[in-house]
Structure formats: structure tokens, C-alpha cells
């Protein structure tokens, strides 16, 4: 029953991507990444995104660590983490995350700890959402690849 799923999966993936674009979660830079994927680099997007996840989680931990420290005052260091997060988010097309980083940075420049905490929560929320959706996308992609590899005599007709 896998054969006929290819088209269905492709449609589902397109729909999911369309939703993410519509919500402003992703922007055209993500499409640019997809353009860079081909036979010579068939897993480019997932490779880059996985690096992004890994780095982002580290940054989020650092940010949380800084802010929860009662004697926290190193806004400059926080700014450095934020710039990094902003840069990598923009590089993969994670538009909403990037925008939250901008607001976060503004709060940090004003030494506004409460504002920073709020921004951090929002950031963590946005990150979770993106991670889940991209995982969904990659799973669908994996299934699609598997399904396309299965040959049933009738699958073309269905």
C-alpha cells in the first residue's frame, strides 16, 4: 500500500510548507535551502536544519542560564548569543524566531530583565513549534522516499 502514498505525501508536505509560510514561521530563505539540495547533496536541508537545532538548543540553554541567574547583569554576553541565534535563524529562513530575537535584543539593550524573560519564553515556544513542524516535514520526506522506492505493478495507476 506504500506505492500510492507518494503523491499523497508530496501533497501533504506542500500543504504543511504552505501553512508554515502563511504563518510567517518560514520565509523564502527556506526555499533557497531546498534549491541547494540535489543528487549530489540529497540531505542538505535536513543536515543544515539539524545543525541549527543543535546550536539553537545550546543557545537557548545559555540564555536561560544567564537570565535565571539572580545576579545576572551580563547583557552584552546575552547580546552575543542573540546575534548568533538571529543569524542562524535568518540563514535557514526561521522568520518568526528571528523576529522574536530582534525584540529580545531590544529588551536586552534596555537592560529590561522582565522583558527579556518574556522574550525568552516566546522564543522557546516558537522554537518548539518550528522543531516539531520541521520534524514532521522530514518524516514525510523520508516516507516519501521509501514509498517511491517500493514498486508495485499497479501503483502508477492509483
Amino acid at each position: 500500500m506504500l506505492g500510492w502514498g507518494v503523491d499523497r505525501l508530496r501533497a501533504d508536505m506542500s500543504r504543511l510548507l504552505a501553512i508554515l509560510f502563511h504563518q510567517g514561521v518560514l520565509d523564502e530563505q527556506f526555499l533557497q535551502l531546498q534549491q541547494l539540495q540535489d543528487e549530489s547533496s540529497p540531505n542538505f536541508v535536513s543536515e543544515v536544519v539539524n545543525i541549527y537545532f543543535h546550536e539553537s538548543e545550546k543557545l537557548l540553554r545559555n540564555l536561560r542560564g544567564l537570565l535565571l541567574d539572580r545576579e545576572f547583569s551580563d547583557y552584552k554576553k546575552m547580546g552575543i548569543h542573540l546575534n548568533q541565534f538571529m543569524g542562524s535563524s535568518s540563514s535557514i529562513g526561521a522568520k518568526r524566531i528571528r523576529n522574536v530575537c530582534v525584540a529580545f535584543r531590544a529588551a536586552s539593550e534596555q537592560n529590561n530583565r522582565a522583558g527579556c524573560l518574556r522574550a525568552l519564553e516566546l522564543l522557546e515556544h516558537e522554537y518548539c513549534y518550528l522543531k516539531n513542524k520541521l520534524h514532521e516535514l522530514f518524516q514525510m520526506e523520508q516516507q516519501r522516499v521509501l514509498a517511491a522506492g517500493v514498486r508495485y505493478p499497479l501503483h502508477q495507476q492509483l
Partner: protein, 248 residues
């Protein structure tokens, strides 16, 4: 793309027509591939720029710091190396004394340790490396920053995130100017020859010169004498190439 690039492309193709004139031109294109040194402290950005360049048929060497770049190029003394805090991620084959040969350097502006601007300065201060075009990438389009880089001799300032169209444009532009640079040197040799042939007869085409120069061009000296426009800053206004993010 703005109209600027269309004008410059036409100018470029006219220039390239005169390649046929020069018997010394590298028409076998043995060094067709542009070798780019990409410098960025962000792993993600390095991966992306690497891929962008490879897809655009460029050879890439990616490094994570300005110090790493200088080391690869062979611009660094041993004692200067100790100052660098970041570890170089590139497995540099023993570049030894010669260093890496690159055609173009593209670097991020904001990097810990040595910024892209500082790297640019060091390269432009070096007699052996100042000819290498340096392109700066940045996610912040601060006019003062852009001006400073261009004043220091940066070829171009590109807004991040870098797109395929940016890289392709860079590659095409670089290839065109490289051809011109090599033609210029051989042209100076042929210029006298051509002048003499044109003095002798205006109608017949001398055997050593192919009749392919564009008929719309003015007298031959105007093709050869326009060496000034080769400098990129006079071609386009560099600031126009700074695309706005989310412009579309």
C-alpha cells in the same frame, strides 16, 4: 535585478569579444573554476555558503575565523598565530610557505576575534594579497559599516542571508573581470601591433586579427584604453547591490 547589472553585463560582453583579438588569451580555460575562500564563524552559514558556491561551480575552502584565513593564505607568522583564540576548523594541507591560491575571499563581518573588516584591512595591506577581491557579508546593513568596508577596498557588501543569485552574480562578475585583467596585460602587447596594422590599411583585416570585434565599437583604441572602468567601484554603485531583506 536593477538596470545597472544589465548595462554592466553588456559592457562586459563587449569586452569579452575583444578576447578573440588577443592570441595570448586563456581560451583553453584551464583555470575556469573560481577558487573562493569563505570565512564565517557560524557553522550553518559556512555550510550554506559552501553549498551556494559549489552549486555555482566554484571551488571552496571554508574557514571559521580571520586568523584561520590568514594562516591558510600564508600571511601569518608563527608568533602571530599564538594570539589567535579560535581554533581553525580547516584541515589545511601543509600550505607551507606558499599558502593557498584563491581568486576571491568572501567573509562575514561580525566575527569574534578578528572581524571581517579587520581581515579586509590585513589583506589590503599585504602587497602579495591586496589584489584578491574581498566581499563582505553582513546581516546588519549599517551605512557606516558599509562605507568603511568599501573605503578599505572591499569589492562588495552583501546582505545576509546570501542567496544563490548573489553568488552567481559574484561568480559571473569575477570571471568577467578576471578575463579582462588577463586580456589587459596581453592587450598592451598587441596594442602597438594593431595600431600599426590599422595605420597601414583600414579596409582589409590583417591576418593576425580576427574580424570578430563588435562592429558597433568605436576605433580600436577606445576598447583598449578603457582600463579605468575595470575597477568595479566605478561600474555600479556598490550600495545598490545591497539588496533589502524581505524586499519581495
Amino acid at each position: 535585478m536593477g538596470s545597472n547589472s544589465i548595462v554592466s553585463n553588456r559592457w562586459m560582453s563587449e569586452k569579452m569579444n575583444c578576447l578573440d583579438l588577443s592570441p595570448n588569451s586563456n581560451s583553453d580555460n584551464e583555470e575556469e573554476e573560481v577558487h573562493v575562500l569563505a570565512v564565517d564563524d557560524s557553522l550553518i552559514d559556512r555550510k550554506v555558503i559552501e553549498r551556494l558556491l559549489k552549486i555555482s561551480s566554484c571551488k571552496v575552502t571554508a574557514v571559521d575565523s580571520g586568523w584561520g584565513a590568514l594562516k591558510l593564505l600564508g600571511l601569518l607568522d608563527d608568533d602571530e598565530e599564538d594570539k589567535s583564540s579560535s581554533s581553525s576548523s580547516s584541515s589545511s594541507s601543509s600550505a607551507g610557505f606558499e599558502g593557498l591560491k584563491v581568486d576571491l575571499i568572501i567573509t562575514d563581518y561580525c566575527m569574534p576575534g578578528m572581524t571581517g573588516y579587520e581581515l579586509l584591512k590585513k589583506i589590503k595591506e599585504s602587497s602579495s594579497f591586496r589584489e584578491i577581491p574581498v566581499v563582505i557579508m553582513s546581516s546588519e546593513n549599517v551605512m557606516a559599516r558599509i562605507d568603511r568596508c568599501l573605503e578599505e577596498g572591499a569589492e562588495e557588501f552583501i546582505a545576509k542571508p546570501v542567496k544563490l543569485s548573489d553568488v552567481k552574480r559574484l561568480r559571473d562578475y569575477y570571471m568577467a573581470t578576471r578575463e579582462i585583467r588577463s586580456v589587459q596585460s596581453s592587450v598592451n602587447v598587441n596594442k602597438r601591433k594593431l595600431q600599426e596594422s590599422f595605420d597601414v590599411s583600414t579596409s582589409s583585416s590583417p591576418s593576425s586579427i580576427s574580424p570578430s570585434p563588435s562592429p558597433s565599437s568605436a576605433s580600436p583604441p577606445s576598447l583598449f584604453s578603457s582600463s579605468a572602468p575595470c575597477s568595479p567601484s566605478s561600474l555600479d554603485s556598490p550600495t545598490r547591490r545591497i539588496k533589502m531583506t524581505s524586499f519581495d
